[in-house]
């Protein structure tokens, strides 16, 4: 089980003939992920170690039944890759590409809403996701994961690896670990993931790794306030970061009392979440909960 992807997920890799794309496509396949196709415009008809390459997403979906895409595109064409998937009704899009302009992502998602697209975008600018033992979509190092009952959702890539490594070494396995992406505008949010974990019978507890900026953590806290939910342990990084000068009044007005480490921690605590001060306290807290 786990969420978003499993052993039945048929992944296509956009940008598969690039250096990063081919490297990670083969690593994903080595993990056991069903990597069924690649897309690189102009390279249709070739293959990457047996994975057939197509010119368009539509061709790859029709020929190989791909139902998830992992995007490794240069930043200048990342938004186009997302838009192509949305246009063709791709159920799951995992975008690794960083440096995509925010407005391009807003436009692509608005177009999806307008045309009734019912899929999900994870990222951009994230490490992707892993449903342990079933499917690895993205760039996470495969060796750190261990199958178990903790779901993890994070805005940061390396911090996720750090924590997953700690958990696995402490004997705490995971269901699905998701990096939602570090950009201001992302598809799938903390709240979306918490909702999905709520319905996953294998997940017994969730680790949430937030950071300063935006209000995704506060939104998650609001969701957790409503009704009962599985136990959540959170860590917020950036308490010692300087107050962001970037938001301007408009940001301050919209987000109001959100965005700082303090507001996030308080909101989550109010919602019954255990918020640890130190990263390395997470395994201990989890062992207490899962015991």
């Amino acid at each position: 089980m786990g969420i978003l992807a499993n052993s039945g997920t048929r992944v296509l890799v956009q940008g598969i003939t690039g250096r990063e794309g081919s490297f990670h496509a083969l690593r994903m396949r080595a993990y056991g992920t069903k990597v069924v196709a690649g897309v690189t415009p102009g390279k249709g008809g070739s293959d990457v170690d047996g994975i057939e390459v197509y010119d368009t997403v539509l061709e790859a979906m029709e020929a190989q039944g791909a139902n998830a895409s992992c995007i490794f595109a240069p930043s200048s064409s990342g938004a186009d890759a997302i838009a192509e998937c949305i246009h063709d009704g791709m159920p799951l899009i995992v975008c690794i590409t960083e440096g995509i302009p925010q407005m391009s992502v807003i436009k692509a998602l608005a177009e999806g809403a307008r045309t009734g697209w019912e899929g999900r975008l994870v990222g951009p600018n994230g490490p992707g996701l892993v449903t342990v033992g079933e499917a690895l979509i993205g760039i996470s190092p495969a060796g750190i994961f261990k199958k178990g009952h903790v779901g993890l959702v994070s805005r940061s890539g390396t911090l996720t690896y750090e924590i997953v490594d700690m958990l696995s070494k402490a004997g705490i396995g995971q269901t699905t670990c998701i990096g939602v992406g570090g950009d201001p505008i992302i598809g799938t949010t903390f709240t979306d993931c918490l909702r999905l974990f709520e319905d996953d019978p294998d997940t017994k507890a969730v680790v949430l790794i937030g950071e300063i900026g935006g209000s995704d953590e506060e939104n998650a806290a609001r969701f957790l306030h409503e009704g009962s939910h599985k136990p959540v342990i959170a860590f917020i990084s950036g308490r010692n970061a300087p107050a962001g000068k970037k938001m301007g009044h408009a940001g301050a007005i919209i987000y109001g009392r959100t965005g700082s480490a303090q507001t996030k921690i308080e909101a989550l605590k109010d919602a019954g979440v255990v918020v640890v001060d130190k990263l390395w306290e997470i395994p201990g807290q989890l062992l207490g909960i899962l015991a």
């Binding site: 807003i106 390396t158 690896y161 490594d165 950071e211 939104n219 300087p242 408009a250 109001g256």
Partner: protein
């Protein structure tokens, strides 16, 4: 990329948003000449990316050559929130009858463009938003290429703006939206939008942030970005392609991934230290990026120790180790190095560093403690 007031106003002009007549001056003499050529009362305004300029004495009114020159002489060289003023904007002083607030920003939660309007502009807008949120008009706009002026006028009416001024205000809002979309802004504020005694409209101040991801990745874009930084080392970092922010402590921090770097800074804080910077080498960095990063930090005289914290995913610990050795080989570093390596290539990386006599911390917590101790010891 945040823009200075005069840079923002240049964009306002380009998109047909009225701004007060004025020019930029590099020294007091030039400021005096601009004032006398304008022939009216002027405002001499420090061009720095810091809030509260006015309260800090960075904005002075003056009339004529001598007064303006004197005002500029006072302001240029002044330090506002740690930033030295290098330039002033000299522009016609206005007599406001009313001050409005007009802002556009990316709304992260709604994934939309947010328009904010308020009848009471000026410095206290945030206070107003807190104490009487109903006074701030909010509208999430679809990300189209245009906002029709007629729609903007209706929004201005809904926000309670003076009916007699909606033709001008609607045009300004529509043009600000064109600017926001055309220049890939993430924030565009006119605060205040001034209605003069004569009923004319002017953007009296500008606050603009452009999406760095949308800047062309050309040298030109990079140079503009570098010029937007007040800090010398931040400018150098951009030229070297490093993701660096200067902070105020004495412990250098380098890591891979923004979250890990922030967590490292926090770990230093929990152990009683203060970080001197945020430096993220990103994913898959090669030895030269690590070397360049250490070279950059070597130029910050405040740094007493540096913690390099790597969890290898795509990034290989052995590449990082090579980079450290290159930096050390190129000349001794002016601070104590504390290294923590984990993940991909960890064993090889440790071996390389230990061969050269460098100690590797076992955990992130231990590394933070060591870095704090080293910095204190160096005092």
């Amino acid at each position: 990329m945040q823009l200075l007031e005069h840079q923002g106003k240049a964009l306002f002009r380009k998109y047909g948003i009225p701004v007060p007549e004025g020019r930029l001056a590099q020294d007091a003499e030039e400021a005096g000449l601009i004032a006398s050529s304008l022939g009216v009362r002027v405002a001499v305004k420090a061009q720095v990316l810091a809030g509260g300029r006015g309260k800090a004495g960075g904005i002075l009114l003056a009339e004529g050559y001598e007064e303006a020159k004197a005002a500029a002489a006072k302001i240029i060289g002044m330090r506002i929130k740690g930033i030295t003023v290098r330039e002033v904007l000299v522009e016609r002083a206005l007599s406001p009858a009313e001050e409005y607030y007009v802002g556009l920003t990316v709304d992260r939660s709604r994934k939309a463009v947010a328009l904010l309007l308020c009848r009471s502009g000026g410095v206290d807008i945030e206070e107003i938003a807190r104490s009487s949120p109903e006074a701030v008009y909010y509208r999430a706009l679809p990300p189209n290429d245009e906002l029709h002026p007629f729609k903007a006028r209706r929004m201005a009416l809904e926000a309670g703006f003076d009916r007699a001024r909606i033709l001008g205000i609607g045009g300004i809002i529509a043009n600000l939206y064109r600017l926001f979309m055309g220049e890939a802004a993430t924030l565009a504020e006119i605060n205040p939008l001034m209605v003069t005694q004569e009923g004319k409209l002017f953007a009296a101040d500008s606050k603009m942030i452009l999406d760095e991801s949308a800047l062309d990745s050309t040298l030109e874009g990079k140079r503009t970005l570098a010029e937007s930084k007040d800090d010398e080392l931040e400018r150098k970092a951009i030229e070297k392609g490093l993701n660096y922010v200067r902070l105020e402590g004495d412990i250098g921090v380098i890591g891979n991934g923004a979250g890990l770097v922030m967590a490292t800074i926090d770990a230093i804080g929990l152990n009683g230290g203060r970080a001197a910077d945020f430096l993220d080498i990103g994913g898959g960095a090669k030895a030269d990026v690590v070397r360049k990063s250490l070279e950059l930090l070597s130029e910050d005289k405040n740094i007493k120790s540096t913690l390099l914290n790597i969890f290898g995913g795509i990034t290989r610990c052995d590449e990082v180790a090579k980079g450290i050795l290159e930096a050390v080989g190129a000349g001794s570093l002016p601070f104590t190095m504390v290294v923590r390596l984990a993940g991909t290539g960890e064993d090889e990386g440790r071996r390389l560093l230990e061969e050269s006599g460098m100690k590797i911390a076992a955990t992130m917590d231990e590394a933070a403690q060591e870095a704090v101790l080293a910095a204190k010891g160096a005092c």
